[in-house]
Structure formats: C-alpha cells, structure tokens
Symmetry: C2
Subunit: 303 residues, 2 copies
C-alpha cells in the first residue's frame, strides 16, 4: 500500500464526485424532455441520492489517462453507466427482490412512490442511459466505429450479459448452493459488468489500444469481484445504520463469499484481487496512481 502514500485518494474522489454531480444535473435536465412528470421526480430523487459515483469517476479518469482531452464530456459518458446502476439499485430494492426500506440512508423509491412507479422509473432508466451515452458521444466527437463499440459495451452491461444476467443468477443462487466458481461468476456479472464497462467506455472514447482495453477489462473484473466480496464482508459485519441500507444477502440465507469462506479468508481473497488489479494495469502500460489507489480503497473501505 506504499503507492497510497504518494496520493491523496480521498481528496481526489471528493473533487471528482463534484464533477460527477454536475454531469448528473446536466443529464437530468436533458432527460426531462423524455420523462413524464410523474416519473421525472422519482428518477431525479434516485439519481441524486448520492453514492460513491465510482463508475463515472472511473470512466472519466481512464479517458484522461488514455489521452482524452474533452474532460466534462467524459463525465457525461460515465453518467450513462450511473443511470444503469441506479436502475439496478431501484429494482434490487423492490419488495419482490430484496424488499429494502433504506438506500443510502433514505427511504427507497418504492417506499416513497409505490412499487409500480419504482418499476417504471427503473425501466425508463435503461433507454435513458442510451440516450445519455449518445449525447456524450456527440460531445466527445467519437467516430462511428468507436461510438458503436461504446453503445454495445453499455447495452451488454445493462442487459442479460451484465445486470439482468447477474440478477437472474442471483435469483437462482437463492435456491441453490453454488460452489465458489459459480459464485464468482454471479458476482463478476453483477458488479463487475458495470465497473468494467466504465473503464472500457472511457478507454474506447480516448481511442486506447487493444492491449490497454484488455488490461482495463482485467483490472475491472478483479476490482469488481473484490468490491463485491468486500460488500459481502461489510454486510456481515456492519449494522443497518452504518451501511445506510439493510444488510440483505446474509439474512436471506443467500450464498455469499463470507458464508462459504468466512470473513478472514474472504478478506485475503479481496486483497489478492486488488494486487492482481494493480499488476495488470502496469503490464498494460497504464500509469495511474489513482487507479492503483482505487483498487486498494475498494477492499479497505468501511462503507
């Protein structure tokens, strides 16, 4: 963790989050024309409810690290992924899924607006993410090939290869005892998909080489899995008040890393993945104290 000594991650993330919040504001203003007023409000509440904003931060960071010059538009591109992330949280919280009452310390969308509005607000966010990405692609001036690759990445992560597939596997996992390899797949799909997409979309927008894109994918998978394992650990060891959400999977007897490997071993696995992530970036020739520090932060965070 010596690389952290040279870099103030907290300060970096704080400043970056402010950029993301501005981009989210621009996005909601743009999307307002597409949303009936009864859905615009719950969408706005959910999108602006806070959060680490890691996905857009990663997208804009990778864009710059790979030589991209149009900073603000890279946040706009990252926001498209945050919209998919918001949809997934909204639907995960539904009574038919986790039945969560709290998210980031506030009542969940269905608690405020009812289940039917929460379902529809979530559904509206999927095509909204594509509209937002197209808007960002125009600002970035990406060529047609790159634009298509970016939109394919986004829609794969939003679809059955990513979010929906992860939800589906998650659902199966509630009934079946999964072995460690299958569990890894569940987590990689669900969390890793959007993190990796954030990195890859940032790289694509900056016309990064294929080697760099491959390195970013490996980093994303390792960090995504470490992130989810850490979530499992925090769910096991934290109270509802600390998390600002209900500890969920453990209580529902869902199979988690912790339930298979225990807390200590899960922590070791998460740290190994974090080391792996730093290693693959170096190999791909991407020099970024920020990405190294983020790989560390993800397994050391307390929330």
């Amino acid at each position: 963790m010596t690389d952290n000594a040279y870099f103030d991650l907290e300060d970096f993330l704080f400043k970056e989050r402010a950029e993301v919040e501005k981009a989210l504001g621009r996005s909601l203003k743009y999307l307002d024309r597409y949303l009936p007023v009864g859905l615009a409000k719950p969408v706005r509440d959910a999108v602006m409810a806070g959060g680490k904003r890691l996905r857009p931060i990663l997208c804009a960071l990778v864009y710059r690290k790979c030589g991209g010059q149009i900073g603000p538009a890279a946040y706009d591109l990252g926001v498209s992924i945050e919209l998919i992330h918001t949809y997934s949280l909204m639907h995960d919280d539904l009574p038919c899924m986790d039945d969560a009452q709290l998210r980031r310390g506030s009542p969940t969308t269905h608690k405020i607006y009812g289940e039917e509005i929460a379902v529809r607000a979530g559904l509206a966010l999927i095509p909204a993410a594509s509209l937002q990405a197209i808007r960002a692609i125009r600002e970035l001036g990406c060529d047609e090939k790159i634009s298509q690759s970016i939109l394919i990445e986004l829609n794969c992560a939003a679809g059955a290869g990513g979010m929906v597939g992860g939800q589906y596997l998650d659902l199966m996992a509630e009934d079946l005892m999964l072995d460690s390899d299958k569990l890894k797949n569940v987590h990689r799909m669900k969390t890793g998909a959007l993190l990796t997409t954030s990195l890859v979309m940032g790289g694509l927008a900056a016309y990064a080489s294929e080697d760099k894109i491959t390195g970013l994918k490996k980093y994303g998978r390792a960090v995504g899995l470490a992130f989810q394992i850490t979530d499992d650990i925090l769910d096991e060891t934290s109270s509802s008040k600390d998390l600002g959400k209900n500890p969920s999977d453990g209580l529902l007897d869902k199979v988690t890393y912790v339930s298979i490997h225990g807390v200590e071993e899960s922590m070791r696995m998460a740290r190994d993945l974090s080391d792996e992530a730093v290693g693959v970036l170096r190999e791909a020739g991407i020099e970024s104290p920020e990405l190294n520090a983020i790989a560390r932060y993800i397994v050391e965070r307390k929330l």
Copy 2:
C-alpha cells in the same frame, strides 16, 4: 377504399411476415451470445410466438419506398422494434399488470416460466433491442448522424416518452376517469410510439427528406391511434377464443374509447384517422399502395 382494389394486402403481408420471421431468427442467433441460457429460451418463445409483425414490415417497407436498397438489413432494423414490442407484451401480461393467461393463443411467459423470469426476460429485451439496431445499422452502412438519430428514435420509443410513459399513463387511467384528449395521449404514447418509430427508422435509414419524415410521423400517429381504438372495439365485441388473448381493459373498468364514445362513434373515429393517414402520406409525396392499404386494414381487421 378503392385503392385496396389495386392491391392484395393479405398476400403482401403474408410474404413480408416470412421475411420478418427470417430476420427474427437471425436476431435470436446473434443475441444468444448475450443471454444466459435460462433467459434465452423464454425470450425465444416470446419473440417467435407469432403476431402480425406490422412494425418490422412497416420499417422495411418505408425504407424501400424512400429509396433504400439493402432489403434484408431493413428487416433486421425493424426487428429491434419488434423486440421492444415483445418486452411490452411480456410485462403487460404480468400478474401485477393485466394478469393475462393467454397471448396469441399460447400461455403467457409468466404462466410457463414464472413471474421472475418473465420480468427479467422483458428487461433483457430492452438493451437487446439496441444491440440488434446497432447490428442492422452496420449492415445498412448508415453514417454516424443517421445512426445516432435511429438509436435515439428507438430508445425514445422504448423509454418514458413511449412504452414506459404509456404504461405509466395507463396505470393512472385505471384510477382516474380521463377525458377524451388525455385518453388520446395515453394511446398515442403507448401504441403510436412504436408504430411511428418503425416508420421513422425506415425513413431515416433510407436518408428520407425532413418533409417525408414529418409525413411518416403524422401517418404513424393517426394509424397508431386508429389501431388502439380498433383494439378497444375488438376487446369489447370479441371473445377470448377469437382474440387468442384475454379481453382485458373493459373488464377491468379501465377507461377506453368504447367506454367513453360507444362502439359506433369509436368506429367512425378510427375510419376518420385512417383517411387522415392516407392524406398526410400523399401530401408528403410518399406513394405507397401498401401503406394506404395498411391504414385501411388496421381499422377493418377482425383480430
């Protein structure tokens, strides 16, 4: 209806449907790589369950009428809209919505696979439609500006401006008595959005002039509304066996054109809209006995 005399619509639609079925087969093969096996089967069942296939037929027809040369790819583009249409049927049929047991004479997705799979298969179809459209755009060789316009059209219709907005207004309509103007808006959003999108996407792909695109939009809105009014009339006057689905809205006391205006007046309104549709096409300089016949067919169909 004299223009029908010169044109065998039934034969035309029969042949066109065969082209659409081939394009749907290509699409499912392409999308298979993105779908977990447990979702691929229900998606395939729902997509291949038949139907009029009007949306892809309209997309490919307009593409040709506006000078487009790459026929098969225009069906592939139209299929992206059919995927959104399939998602909307799947979710409309859910227990929390219409709780329909039958669709096109077969059990609905949730009856066969359960509600949770039906929800997820529907969700997976939204980004799948974008992936399919990008694939078609590549085959058609559209330039970047046109590609973006096509994808914006698709995602607006799939999102809160179209399907989701329509569903939302539909939901409100179950509780509120709507006046005729608001009801028109509900129907225009829900049905008109995808029909109009089919026409506009076909026109855009063929680089149609702005006047022609405007004419297609007006035709689409008129035909879409006529289509929905006719659906209301058929729901009121047909049995479950004839429709291959459950007559729904009337039984649930939802406000429909028929419940406000009665059958006779609703039929007159639908015919007027059909005339209007034929008129706007002529004004826009689009000569198509097929589109004229379709405008007639929509209000005269028995199913």
